[in-house]
Amino acid sequence: MTSSSLSISKPASWKLSLLDNNLFNSAIRYVAVPLTGVLVFLLLWSATAQNIDTSLGKFPGPAAVWEQFGALYQEHERSREKAAAFYERQEIRNAERLAEDPGYQPKIRDYTGKETFIDQIFTSLITVMSGFLLAVAIAIPLGIATGLSRTLSSAINPIIQIFKPVSPLAWLPLVTMVVSALYTSTDPLVAKSFLNSMITVTLCCLWPMVINTSVGVAGIESDLVNVSKVLRLSPLKHVQKIVLPASVPMIFTGMRLSLGVAWMVLIAAEMLAQNPGLGKFVWDEFQNGSSDSLARIMAAVIVIGVIGFLLDRAMLQLQKLASWDKDSITH
């Protein structure tokens, strides 16, 4: 995982074409060509799907998947209606009980119905962002510290090198066991399953960010370090004024890398541990073996892909905002 792979500078010809900007050209480049690509893919998909017809089911074509998107949305709407009825019934029941038993503290419980596809999307998004932010909070200070201190770096390096190649999914059983042992509140703030998924995501986000941050910090130009020395900046000021600004591009590269990995790992972890989210949705559908299952799984696959893409774009925008060295970032 080299951190430099993402920061290839733009070829000169590309810059030129942008300069003599031609509306027609860019329309072709940004609209027509990608659209053709998608169309060709859809045609290929449709043609191949028709030819994959096993005894375990027919591979879903684009039309079947589109239909399932509609069905999933309707399911969501219906579930919302049921939830509303659930809350109404609950209020009536609470009132009845209060009449019988005045000491009762009425409580409104969450709707107990199954999470819909749309709920699962939000669950996954919240989980991945929480895990990622927790990792940021740990990895960046750690990365800065190892980048600044050779001793610390060589102390921590072997651990990082050993844990970095371990699939975070291998951690999952350990995480699950530790969480169940330590997190034993009777009225927990967040569900155990959420913690399990989140910590797994954190574990996989950690290493790319630590490494990139540490490389970024260690690679600060010696001129800058000398300036800091001349000005006799305190260590805190040194980090704040010199180290952080100078290593921001590398930090963001690490963050972007790890968010991409995190999203992939989260879906797999949800499938494996049956934790709520898109991964569980896919696994549940696989277990159903209904004639719609494959199309629903495909719908989920598309959503997972689109979200992964959007997450990456969002990080890229953030990186552009935070970095002044615009040329070092492309796509």
């Binding site: 409580k107 107990t112 277990q287 159903n288 629903r296």
Partner: protein
């Protein structure tokens, strides 16, 4: 006649209950409010989880003031661990699971059951290839269809052929202490095919010692795919995974568990003993809701079954297609494609006292655990009875049933006569090999099997 007597007694009890009901309005307050109101129950995608789904969908849980979340689990191990570590408050379980857990075979934990979930509901399916080889050994009726029940005698020559060719004959079941494991073993052994022994005291929990057919674990929903892949040649599983194989043309169900042992007890609802002690009212209320659901499922000669199938076919429950689930749930069963036969009692949820946790049902499971070596040493008859009484809790069932009778949601004739009930069914005669099972004499029963460990034997 016995029937009229029964009817009269029931009428009297109902009359008594209703006069009592008039004197003191039968509010559920007498039972006490549930101590824990928010509950999570686990299940495996099988049609016999129906009482839980129905209790939820028909509002029976809410009537008890319980707010229940129902979650499908990946496999029986995950489900059991969930109940043990408290992630789940209760679950749809294999009857053998609470018994094995309490005994300490596998994970050790005290789990009890106040409610037996159903009778029958499983089948044994073989791949098309094996079916073709079995077919010549099966007698035919006048219309050319095979005579049922099909015994494992028809499979024996096929297994021997594989053995002679040095090929292992692999079959799937869902869990080492599953009903399916014992049913498959029972059927095979009744036909002279040795399904292999367990030897936990030597660390051998594969269950393949001396085996002619090698049984291994596959989660229920993956059975058809595993059969299709050729990893196993046959399997024993609950519905809809036998009918699914027929629909997809992957395999042929050869026998149902109804034919192996008529009206055999199947799944149970399991909770930890600690849960029942900490939340006694909640436990009774859960049992009440489940009893009502079971009654609803069998009401008016299965009139509600089509609606139940519609509910089960939703993706958050079993999720298979309506037609596939309906096949067994509405009283028929399709064997070879096109060979659809009436099996009105394929799934029984309430009649024949299906939900009452009989000690003798638990003891049958224990005898099979002993027969196949999961219990490695001899135990006295009393030990079997004590173990059954630790796990099966008719006392909780009784409290729930009596409070339902009091609330006029059920009548006394629908339940066993609690005043005389000792928890042991009459000796059971409807086994495929004709052996009679008397729950009062487990050791004598174990001694009757030609294949299986007997008194004094230890591997």
């Amino acid at each position: 006649m016995k029937w009229t007597q029964l009817f009269r007694r029931a009428a009297i009890t109902v009359g008594l209950a209703s006069t009592l009901g008039l004197a003191t309005p039968a509010t559920s307050a007498e039972l006490g409010y549930p101590e824990k109101e928010e509950l999570t129950f686990g299940f495996i995608k099988l049609t016999d989880m129906a009482p839980i789904a129905i209790a939820y969908e028909k509002g029976f849980f809410e009537d008890e003031g319980l707010y229940v979340t129902i979650e499908a689990q990946a496999n029986w191990k995950v489900l059991l661990d969930g109940v043990i570590d408290g992630r789940l408050d209760g679950a749809h379980m294999l009857a053998g699971q609470p018994i094995a857990a309490t005994m300490g075979f596998g994970t050790k934990a005290e789990i009890i059951t106040p409610f037996s979930m159903d009778l029958n509901g499983n089948g044994i399916t073989v791949s098309n290839e094996i079916w073709e080889q079995m077919k010549p050994n099966i007698p035919k009726m006048d219309n050319g269809l095979p005579v049922h029940p099909i015994k494992a005698d028809a499979l024996k020559p096929v297994v021997e052929k594989y053995k002679a060719a040095g090929k292992p004959f692999n079959m799937g079941m869902v869990f080492p202490v599953s009903t399916h494991n014992y049913e498959l073993r029972y059927w095979l052994a009744a036909g002279g095919i040795h399904p292999g022994y367990y030897a936990p005291h030597k660390g051998d929990i594969s269950g393949q010692i001396d085996a002619d057919a090698l049984l291994s674990v596959t989660p229920p929903p993956q059975m058809p795919a595993t059969l299709e892949a050729g990893t196993i040649y046959g399997y024993c599983v609950g519905e809809p995974w036998n009918q699914q194989a027929v629909f997809k043309g992957i395999g042929v169900p050869v026998v149902t568990d109804y034919e192996i042992w008529k009206d055999n007890p199947e799944k149970v609802f399991g909770i930890t003993k600690a849960f029942a002690e900490k939340y006694p009212n909640t436990t009774i209320r859960i049992t009440r809701a489940l009893i009502r659901a079971a009654m609803w499922l069998d009401e008016n000669n299965n009139a509600n079954r089509p609606e139940a199938v519609k509910i089960l076919s939703r993706s958050n429950y079993v999720g298979a297609d309506y037609e596939v689930i309906a096949n067994s749930m509405t009283g028929t069963f399709e064997y070879e494609k096109g060979d659809k036969r009436e099996v009105p009692d394929f799934n029984v949820f309430f009649r024949y006292h299906a939900t009452y946790p009989y000690y003798s049902d638990a003891i049958w499971y224990l005898t099979q655990m002993r027969r196949w070596g999961q219990i490695s040493e001899d135990k006295s008859d009393d030990w079997y009875k004590e173990m059954a009484a630790k796990v099966y809790r008719p006392d909780i069932y009784r409290a729930a049933a009596e409070s339902l009778i009091k609330d006029k949601l059920a009548s006394a004739d629908q339940f066993p006569d609690f005043s005389s009930e000792d928890g042991y069914r009459e000796p059971q005669t409807h086994f495929i090999d004709g052996i009679v099972y008397n729950g009062q004499k487990p050791n004598e029963y174990i001694g009757k099997f030609p294949i299986g460990l007997k008194a004094g034997q230890k591997l």
